[in-house]
């Protein structure tokens, strides 16, 4: 009887150790941020108009201790200049004279080396 009991404890211990390792690892595993949408307004935009951009992103570290980490945004445009006041999820861009399609990308970075990028095309007409 005693001998049997002892064995059970040993298995429990092993299981517990495995459980702890798994939990610990999962807590340390960073989930990259995900950009769900990037919106330009207005789009299409008349040349010379001010286009407002909004980037929506989330960080899916729901079950881990890394959740609610703060995200940083940065913007880049294939042509012209894009201005974002505090590197936040909003930016403005002036539609140029030349008509055509213009890509604008939003990059989001979490605190643990995770990044995502997404692009919207603004039609200048």
């Amino acid at each position: 009887m005693n001998r049997y009991k002892y064995r059970t404890r040993s298995i429990d211990l092993i299981l517990l150790t495995i459980f702890l390792i798994l939990t610990f690892t999962s807590c340390l595993h960073n989930y990259e941020p995900v950009i769900s949408s990037i919106i330009a307004n207005p789009n299409p935009a008349p040349s010379g108009s001010i286009v407002t951009l909004t980037c929506k992103a989330s960080d899916d570290d729901e079950s881990s201790m890394m959740k609610n980490e703060s995200l940083e945004y940065s913007w880049s445009c294939a042509y012209g200049e894009i201005v974002s006041e505090n590197n936040d999820d909003n930016a403005i861009w002036i539609a140029p004279d030349e008509l055509g399609e213009y890509s604008i990308s939003c990059t989001v970075t979490d605190q643990f080396n995770g990044m995502d990028i997404s692009t919207v095309d603004v039609t200048v007409e």
């Binding site: 960073n30 399609e101 213009y102 890509s103 080396n113 692009t119």
Partner: protein
């Protein structure tokens, strides 16, 4: 154990300007600080992408614009890096070389306008317009100091299938007092068009100026063939230095046996002194033959009578 960062070292595109439909090759070079195996995710909001790990092939979309292609490299355990590259896409290119009509040398710094856009020629005399190429007439204007303003046009055929169209032309320096200058430009075919000028009687005899008898500025016929072009585009230029009373006949002969005037896109600019006033004459679309009878010029008044017809025989007085 902390997971180390991923770093994209470079994202390079084979072309920074592409025409619609062109394939652009992109290579994303990335490294992981703790040697994790990286996966690559390629995206573009327009244009098809096919990717094989760190290399992608992007098809430039139909609409002109400035596009981003992005690459994301991820180690699968939470670290990633992203990069974007900008590629300009143009529907088509109208390009050409601007030359000096009296010596054929290239002209740098010429302001060339098509519609509302303007560009400057580079040190090879070349200009480029990035536009969607559509069939139809295009008006061209060009300006540079010491040369007559240029006002011309060309036509892109409706069935033009290439995304490149070449329009070369020549500018005339301001004519000296008493000069009249005729400048011929055309397209790539026929290879050889020749300008001919028949003069009225000068010091007792008529003269015929062409590549075989180029005339003289200092004695009869006081007119010269300035440039003879034999490989398309021109210029092929004749200048009357000093005119005499009577009628000058100006015509073009198609020396090459292949090609035709109709497909040549030929255009003639005539400049009178001192104000560059004159005529722009486009090759007619009708008629057949190897002679393009362009105009008569009255030696006394400088008046130009435009004939502009294609015929089988040499024009005569």
């Amino acid at each position: 154990m902390k997971n180390g960062p991923v770093e994209i070292i470079s994202l390079a595109a084979s072309d920074s300007i592409a025409r619609s439909g062109d394939l652009v090759v992109l290579v994303c070079e990335a490294q992981d600080s703790d040697k994790d195996k990286l996966s690559y995710e390629w995206q573009s909001s327009s244009g098809d992408i096919s990717a094989d790990r760190d290399t992608a092939l992007w098809t430039a979309p139909n609409k002109s614009g400035y596009y981003h292609v992005t690459c994301k490299a991820a180690d699968g355990v939470g670290a990633s890096d992203v990069a974007s590259v900008s590629i300009r896409v143009v529907g088509g290119i109208i390009s050409g070389t601007v030359t000096n009509a009296v010596n054929g040398t290239v002209l740098e710094g010429v302001s060339v306008s098509i519609g509302e856009s303007s560009v400057m020629t580079n040190d090879s005399g070349e200009y480029n317009f990035y536009l969607a190429l559509q069939g139809g007439m295009y008006q061209v204007a060009a300006l540079i100091d010491s040369f007559c303003p240029y006002d011309g046009s060309f036509e892109i055929p409706e069935d033009h299938s290439s995304s490149l169209f070449t329009f070369n032309f020549s500018l005339s320096p301001f004519p000296e007092p008493g000069e009249i200058r005729m400048v011929l430009n055309w397209g790539s075919s026929p290879n050889d068009l020749d300008s001919h000028l028949k003069t009225p009687e000068i010091e007792g005899q008529t003269h015929h100026i062409s590549y075989s008898s180029r005339g003289s500025a200092d004695f009869a016929p006081f007119a010269t063939l300035d440039v003879d072009d034999t490989d398309g585009y021109g210029p092929e230029t004749i200048t009357i230095k000093q005119s005499f009373s009577g009628t000058y006949i100006y015509y073009i002969y198609q020396y090459s046996s292949s090609g035709s005037f109709q497909e040549s896109g030929g255009s003639i600019q005539i400049y009178n002194s001192p104000t560059c006033d004159g005529e722009t004459i486009q090759v007619p679309v009708d008629g057949s033959g190897r002679y393009w009878y362009v105009c008569d010029i009255d030696g006394e008044s400088g008046d130009i009578t435009v004939i502009n017809q294609i015929q089988n025989s040499e024009p005569t007085n």
